[in-house]
């Protein structure tokens, strides 16, 4: 549109004006190229990250082949590494945190859009949005020093000692008190809750008032309006928002590193220590070299590809909405 207008002006102008516009159009194309160049830089940055992880992780992929993804080995002395435990830990902690955060996020969004007094709705949603800005490492410290001891002393340890260690419940509550899968998942859930609830809230506000009012007019209770009218209406966007939360949970590093226990084994219960890809990299990379470093970078590439797929699905589903 812009260029068409430009050529029209040029056709109408006198010789002098044409010369000036021509000089302008040289600067014009320079400016446009600068903008385009900057936009291309995004492609370069993302491609560069992927290339670096591929090149850095190649020795590990080359040596261990497909077995790398299924091996649970993490033997520093013999230089044998496998990614199965961190991959499992990453996916397990993210999914458990999603199971906790999803109902909470729906609850918060419904509360704020349906029955919160208008005076309170704005401050509460601002407070919850601000939760999203707090650095990950601060959540980690809070989880490590406040939340984990609370769960350990008042829930896990009393329950563990209340049951026979060999019984089902005894095994269920056995584990590592201060850093385990469940605590990491709860801290993750608190971290992704603000993202999800603000997406859900926007979606719920986008439901046409006439649709909601029609349902209320039929005599529906709030519960019935939400369950039968609003949730079906925004289902697609909600799945997108959930995937967005999942993407964040998968890649979260510092908070998880503080509270997951960082043990290189499959968790035997919810209260057992394990590790995620991001926490393993954060913990071990500084002291790693050679094949160990390559294995860690290779796991980084796996994490990148997992989050890429999750985010691509999220964007696809949220494409109609603008977030």
């Amino acid at each position: 549109m812009g260029s068409a207008m430009g050529s029209q002006t040029m056709g109408l102008g006198s010789v002098d004006a044409t010369a000036r516009i021509n000089r302008g159009s040289w600067g014009e194309s320079l400016f446009r190229s600068a903008c385009f160049g900057a936009a291309t830089f995004l492609l370069v940055a993302l491609g560069g990250i992927m290339l670096a992880l591929f090149v850095g992780g190649w020795p590990a992929f080359h040596k261990f082949g497909f077995g790398f993804f299924f091996s649970t080995a993490w033997d520093v002395n013999n230089d044998v590494y496998g990614a199965a435990v961190p991959i499992f830990g990453t996916i397990a902690s993210a999914l458990i945190s999603l199971m906790i955060a999803l109902p909470l996020a729906i609850g918060v969004a419904v509360f704020l859009t349906e029955f919160c007094p208008r005076v309170l709705a704005q401050p509460i949603s601002t407070v919850i949005d601000l939760l999203a800005g707090i650095p990950s490492i601060v959540y980690g410290m809070w989880g490590f020093f406040v939340f984990a001891p609370l769960i350990a002393n008042h829930i896990q340890l009393p329950l563990e000692s209340a049951f026979d260690p060999d019984s089902f419940w005894g095994k269920f509550f056995a584990g590592v008190p201060n850093g385990n899968l469940l605590i990491a998942s709860v801290v993750l859930a608190i971290m992704i809750l603000p993202y999800m609830s603000s997406v859900f809230r926007e979606l719920m506000l986008s439901v046409p008032a006439s649709v909601r009012e029609a349902a209320y007019g039929l005599g529906c209770t709030t519960f019935e309006v939400v369950r039968s009218v609003m949730l079906p209406y925004i289902r697609r966007g909600m799945i997108g928002g959930t995937m967005l939360g999942l993407g964040r949970a998968l890649g979260e590093t510092m908070a998880v590193t503080f509270v997951i226990g960082n043990a290189h084994n499959f968790p035997s219960s919810l209260f057992d220590a394990t590790s995620t890809i991001a926490s393993t990299i954060a913990n071990e990379f500084a002291e790693a070299s050679g094949m160990r470093a390559a294995a860690l970078i290779a796991m980084g590439l796996v994490l990148f590809l997992i989050t890429f797929v999750v985010l691509a699905i999220a964007r696809l589903l949220l494409r109609s909405q603008k977030f």
Binding site: L42, I128, I134, P135, S136, M141, G251, E252
Partner: protein
């Protein structure tokens, strides 16, 4: 009658559950802040703000009190500001291209998608990638002592700030009314001139908001700095700024990560966490405040 009662009861339970969910969310934020102030506020004194953390690390049980967080504060500020300069420069141009030139073109949509991916990419991987490149170059150049540096940290932070700025720039420019552009073009200004002189100026507050949000995001990041800035017990001396930034550099989040592990130094970690949370919140609130102002005007 029975049925009406059941419906009402279900509704009460649902309302209660929603209230409980919101309560839990607000409660966790409150608990976080109470513990930050409870443990961190007492450490907030002039000594903490003016002494280097290298002095804390002394193993002497009476030693810790001599040090502070000065190097972390300076390092975080320097790296975040350098990163913001780079990210604002590239991000505003990229956002302008998306808003003004790309339209609904195929390339535009691909770049938008890549920006969204970069926006949510795990931050530790950005640090890892920057490290990998610098490691390769420095090994090849035979100067491994420069593998970790404040510049590398700033580069990693810039990549994290960039997508935030691109996104807000595009949104803010698209908010500007089309009549503004048409009026500029009708006066004979070229498209580029209209963007630079009119649209950017009209969207000034919005662009500033985007910058503040990006600043808030990167100033608390730890993971991307672990293998780039690495940490250093001494602050960047102003006189040796260049050599300081080319060396390992301290940052507040990195200090939290190293100081929380010993009971002797954990109070410093709490103080650092309090400082960084307050800074991030202040910047976020300022950004929101500006955004609200610009929406009304």
């Amino acid at each position: 009658m029975n049925r009406a009662l059941r419906r009402r009861l279900a509704n009460y339970i649902f309302v209660g559950a929603c209230l409980l969910a919101t309560g839990l969310a607000v409660l966790s934020l409150t608990s976080l802040f109470i513990s930050l102030f409870w443990n961190g506020f007492s450490g907030l004194n002039m000594l903490t703000l003016t002494k280097d953390s290298g002095l804390i690390a002394a193993q002497d049980p009476n030693g810790p009190q001599l040090g502070g967080l000065y190097d972390g504060i300076v390092g975080s500020l320097v790296m975040s500001i350098l990163a913001m300069v780079a990210a604002l420069f590239i991000g505003i141009f990229a956002g302008t291209w998306l808003a003004e030139y790309a339209g609904e073109s195929h390339t535009g949509n691909i770049i938008r998608f890549l920006n969204d991916v970069l926006l949510s990419a795990p931050s530790i991987l950005v640090g890892l990638a920057v490290y990998t490149y610098i490691f390769i170059v420095m090994t090849w150049h035979n100067t491994p002592q420069y593998t970790y540096s404040g510049l590398a940290g700033a580069a990693a932070l810039a990549i994290l700030a960039l997508p935030v700025i691109v996104r807000t720039t595009e949104d803010m420019l698209l908010l500007q009314p089309a009549q503004l552009r048409e009026a500029g073009v009708a006066l004979g200004a070229s498209r580029g001139l209209v963007i630079r002189q009119i649209i950017w100026r009209a969207a000034r507050t919005g662009l500033l908001t985007g910058g503040l949000l990006a600043f808030a995001r990167i100033s608390g990041e730890t993971a991307p700095l672990l293998f780039t800035a690495f940490g250093n017990g001494q602050s960047i001396a102003l006189r040796h700024f260049i050599s300081g930034i080319a060396d390992k550099t301290s940052a507040l989040p990195l200090l939290i990560n190293s100081l929380y592990q010993s009971p002797l130094t954990v109070n410093f970690a709490w103080t650092a966490a309090l400082l960084i949370s307050l800074a991030v919140l202040a910047v976020n609130i300022l950004g929101r405040f500006l955004a609200r102002g610009s929406r009304h005007s």
